[in-house]
């Protein structure tokens, strides 16, 4: 995801906004972020995404969203967000010893 460079040296015209592109690679899979591109509106963003990101059958469906609409966690939140789950090993099935005689479980 990109930070819009509004620090630019006096842009003469408005640049096309930045869009993030998500592609469903095959039926049954989630859409995945593949990259970004510039386009004036959503319709053009999908057309451009098709040309830039699916030239070799990489997708069956495209989502685009303007980059400024994406809210993201910050790297400094890593501790508070993810550390609590590190101590909860019992959330994984391998935490429990099940006797072999019980069979597949």
């Amino acid at each position: 995801m990109n930070t819009p460079a509004e620090t630019a040296s006096t842009p003469k015209r408005r640049e096309w906004p930045l869009w993030e592109v998500f592609i469903r690679g095959q039926h049954g899979l989630n859409h995945r972020h593949v990259g970004s591109l510039h386009a004036p509106d959503a319709e053009m963003a999908i057309k451009n995404a098709r040309d830039v990101y699916t030239r070799r059958n990489e997708g069956v469906s495209i989502w685009v969203v303007e980059a400024r609409h994406i809210a993201a966690s910050s790297p400094s939140d890593k501790g508070p967000l993810y550390e609590p789950s590190e101590s909860k090993v019992y959330r994984h099935p391998s935490f429990f010893d099940i006797p072999e005689d019980v069979g597949a479980m």
Binding site: M1, A8, S9, R13, E15, G35, L37, P40, D41, A72
Partner: protein
């Protein structure tokens, strides 16, 4: 490569932060856009990725020259697909650079007014159809040498762009070699054309790796940051070792009388390109510098009304939608 002689920036950041940053790099972490990074790392990467992106875009010109003159419809379709890929590669890279806080239009303007460079190789003309073969085989071949290790570069968006690019680049090299094979199996005149293309592109291809950087402080810094993975000489050697047997298969002669296998180092000894020519070309005095930049400037200026028109249309529609709600 597509990025030659990229100057690295010294960092005047807090030494503790610098050390922590370097530790992340040494541990093989990927640096993402929102992570803290030294100002020098950011600046050097903008320069390097920008130059790489510009090379992809300007690189369309020498090949675009032959699209309408391709010998068959199939060759034309293939070349068109290749040139379209180059545009795509440029776009992936501009997006990667943009994550560092520079905009694509700013980068474009720096290319157009000469503040930023593109690879020296694209300042050479493509005179015959065999040049399409030589460019794909040698120029894309040299680019791959550099781009494959860069997939492991420390900056996440750059690494991901390189992974996408490398997937597509192998098609480029193979289509070039395929053209060369066809020419070399052809008439004497066609073989001569293939040899002539090889003669003209061999040294410019070797120059793509840039001058020896054994003692360069910039290269050392970039290698510590893992934004440069090998020295220029290492990559050039690898390229020569890989290319010589391919030329032999084609029955082409490498235009270097001093080229000889060296058992001790397990590689070929070869002549250095003429570095004064290289410096001349990057300073703007190559055979096609003026033409290339003029073509990019014309495309940018001629396209201005389209960019503005589409933006105005999008804004008008958005305003109408708000009014209707």
């Amino acid at each position: 490569m597509y990025a030659q002689m990229v100057k690295s920036e010294a960092s005047k950041d807090d030494p503790d932060k610098l050390a922590a940053f370097q530790a992340r790099i040494d541990a093989g972490d990927k640096i993402e856009p929102k992570d803290w990074m030294p100002a020098g790392y950011r600046k050097t990467l903008i320069r390097q990725i920008g130059q790489h992106a510009h090379s992809e875009i300007v690189g369309q010109l020498p090949e675009g020259n032959w699209i309408t003159r391709a010998p068959t419809l199939e060759r034309k379709a293939i070349l068109l697909a290749k040139v379209q890929d180059e545009a795509g590669h440029g776009l992936y890279l501009y997006c990667a650079a943009e994550t560092l806080g520079v905009s694509r239009d700013e980068l474009t303007e720096m290319l157009l007014d000469g503040r930023m460079k593109y690879s020296s190789i694209f300042n050479y003309p493509t005179l015959t159809w065999a040049d399409m073969g030589a460019v794909g085989w040698l120029v894309d071949g040299a680019a791959i040498m550099n781009q494959v290790p860069l997939q492991r570069t420390s900056f996440g968006p750059y690494s991901r762009a390189m992974i996408r690019i490398c997937k597509e680049e192998s098609f480029h090299q193979r289509q070039g070699y395929d053209i060369m094979m066809k020419m070399c199996q052809g008439t004497d005149a066609q073989k001569r054309m293939a040899q002539d293309a090889m003669n003209r592109f061999w040294y410019p291809a070797l120059m793509m790796f840039g001058p020896s950087d054994k003692d360069s402080v910039h290269s050392a810094q970039s290698m510590t940051w893992k934004i440069k993975m090998n020295t220029n000489d290492e990559l050039r050697q690898k390229f020569v070792d890989q290319t010589v047997p391919q030329a032999e298969y084609l029955g082409l002669t490498i235009p270097d009388p001093d080229l000889v296998w060296n058992d001790d180092k397990g590689g070929y000894d070869f002549s250095e390109p003429d570095w004064s020519e290289f410096f001349d070309v990057i300073q703007g005095n190559g055979p096609c510098n003026t033409e290339r930049l003029a073509a990019r400037n014309k495309a940018w200026d001629d396209g201005a009304w389209v960019r503005d028109g589409l933006m105005a249309h999008a804004e008008k529609r958005a305003a109408r939608k708000v009014a209707a709600e």
